[in-house]
Amino acid sequence: MKDPLIVVLLSTAVIAGTPLLFAALGEILSERAGVLNLGVEGMMLVGAVSGYIATVQSGNHWVGVIAALGAGGMMAAIHAFLSVTLRANQVVSGLALTIFGTGLSAFLGKGYIGRPVPDVFKPVEIPVLSRIPYAGKILFEHDSLVYLSFLLVIMIWIIVFKTRWGLNLRAVGENPAAADSMGIPVYLTRYLCVISGGMLAGLGGAYLSLAYAPTWVENMTSGRGWIAVALVIFAVWHPGKAIVGAYIFGGVDSLGFHIQAMGDKALFLKDVSPFFLQMLPYILTIIVLIIVTSETKKRRVGTPASLGLPYDREER
């Protein structure tokens, strides 16, 4: 039986959205603690290449995943050192890391171009759940990293909003001086959030090079790190909204391709330029940004108040 088009579309959207989702979840952690990380693109690239190299060397994709987590985390540690300890400008540090990561990943990957991955992530059907009509095909016939991303959304949501530690984390992002006086270790919290955020960005990169399009070519993230940063605003710093946003951002391209491939069967949609569709998520992001900025004045909608501001104990 052939699946209805909408099921195919949504199923593709889940795959296309997963690398964005990993990176966006990481960015949410980091920004919730008050550190803007614009190095996501570079961290994804380094994660993609390390995961790829480790998989080629070891023959096991889970080794690749661990390498990607480690590499993303190390890149983020540089960002944390610069922006938390040295209180450097977070925008500049992040941009520097993206450029650094692009170069580093190209250099590391030089000898690996054009080699296939020996052990790629293959779709695993989850018993029972994958039998659910439509939803089963859309959500539960993917590779294990997709399921990991579902778990991470729930875990991060619980940690950030339902635990004491999450409360501390948000306090650090809102008002580090107050948090400090409450005895919350501001620097440690920020370090932990930035580094785990970088690890997730690395994982997002590895999803591209090990599962989505298993290969390594230079610059293979093609700007997805930047999309993830936009996605965090779109999701108003909330993991639950990030998953929806990630699938919208991921699915739009695929929708455009399907409309083209359908030709006359797409009816009136065939006259909509595929290039126009690709702009939609960004237009939505700008609209959300406008709403967020005007709403923050009236009530709290999520922007961490100290986002982007370095914290200096002595200047209290």
């Binding site: 040295l86 209180r87 170069g103 083209q260």
Partner: protein
């Protein structure tokens, strides 16, 4: 204050790490060469290359880099300097090319269209240096152009696709709606329909040369719409991987992509710059080179078909060989009439042939293409 210094040092360390890393390989290579060849160094002609992308793109620049290595191995008496990668097109390239001349390079290859004006300016100033520009149209006494008739192997790959399809729907993942890509789609479609007049070629535009994940999604949408062979004018193996996963077939591009999709890849047009680079440099060294606009046919080996996948039968190979011979003999070329466009209008009369100029400006689809050319 000390924090600022520390920050500066960290950034410097990162920069040093990158440069040391990138430069390391090249340094070793060149110092090794100097050791061996010190005695003849003065006589060696220096040859330089500029790429628009990274040599590791596994596509366009990668193919040129393979050609550069072939040149290095097959022509003696030259020193091939390390390539300059990801050089921006346009006015900035002038500085880069001028700099190469100052460093003593006598032969310079620029491998992208956008270097044309910059190269022309520098070439006018340095008549003793030979300049070669890929895919452009400006020629001076010391500046030639070169390109390959990739549409010829595309036509041949179309024959293989047309013989393979069962659903009579073939997908084509295309990058940008420009004449080069449109010409490729048309040549491919003519090839398909020469052996299978009922088949249609569906086109999807991706608006990128280079994004493995997006290209794969585009191919998936075509497979979903009933295509059982997917061809590509893209630089990554993404579409081939989509075909492999769906248990369908693919026609690759740029280089042999069978390793990424061994059960799917039938064949595909490939670039093979090496022999051209070797012959041209040798001719310049011998003093027999003359400036020209070179658009190399398949007979010269500059373009070719990738090795066939195991599923391609001998009958199909024989069909392709026969057509290839006609092209090499010059008795026939791809855009020989009668050819209709996909609105039914006759574009090439029976027996007529498109001129090179008409091919270079082609922005219409032949009959059998199912798709639109987006206009601005």
């Amino acid at each position: 204050m000390y924090k600022k210094v520390l920050a500066l040092i960290t950034v410097l360390l990162m920069a040093v790490a990158v440069f040391a890393g990138c430069g390391g390989g090249a340094d070793k290579a060149s110092s090794g060469q100097q050791g061996e060849d010190k005695s003849q160094e003065a006589e060696k002609t220096k040859v330089a290359f500029i790429y628009v992308g990274p040599a590791g793109d596994a596509g366009w620049s990668y193919a040129h880099d393979l050609g550069r290595k072939y040149l290095e191995e097959n022509v003696s008496g030259i020193e091939v300097t390390p390539p300059l990668e990801s050089v921006p097109e346009g006015a900035d390239a002038e500085q880069v090319i001028e700099n190469l001349v100052q460093k003593g390079n006598k032969i310079i290859f620029a491998t992208s269209f956008g270097y044309m004006d910059a190269m022309e300016k520098v070439a006018k100033k340095h008549p003793d240096v030979t300049f070669l520009h890929c895919s452009g149209y400006k020629v001076l006494d010391n500046m030639g152009t070169y390109f390959g008739r990739i549409y010829q192997p595309r036509y041949l790959s179309g024959i293989v696709a047309g013989k393979t399809t069962k659903s009579n729907t073939i997908g084509y993942v295309a990058a940008f709606p420009i004449p080069e890509v449109v010409r490729g789609i048309n040549a491919f479609t003519l090839g398909v329909r020469s052996v299978n007049p009922d088949a249609k070629v569906k086109v999807v535009w991706t608006n990128t040369w280079y994004d493995p994940a997006k290209e794969k999604d585009a191919a998936k949408s075509l497979l979903e719409q009933g295509a059982d062979v997917v061809a590509q004018h893209q630089d990554t193996p993404g579409p081939m991987q989509a075909a492999e996963e769906a248990g369908k077939f693919g026609v690759s591009y740029n280089s042999d992509m069978r390793q990424f999709a061994p059960k799917a890849v039938l064949t595909g047009p490939v670039w093979n710059w090496g022999p051209y680079y070797a012959e041209t440099v040798q001719a310049i060294l011998d003093g027999t080179w003359k400036s020209e606009q070179y658009w190399g046919p398949i007979g010269d080996g500059i373009v070719d078909l990738a090795p066939y996948g195991d599923m391609v039968t001998d009958d199909v190979k024989a069909l392709v060989d026969a057509k290839e011979r006609e092209i090499v003999d010059g008795t026939w070329d791809v855009f020989t009439g009668p050819i209709k466009d996909n609105t039914g209008k006759e574009r090439v009369a029976a027996g007529a042939k498109l001129t090179d100029q008409e091919m270079l400006e082609m922005l219409w689809f032949v009959e059998g293409v199912d798709g639109i050319i987006p206009q601005e």
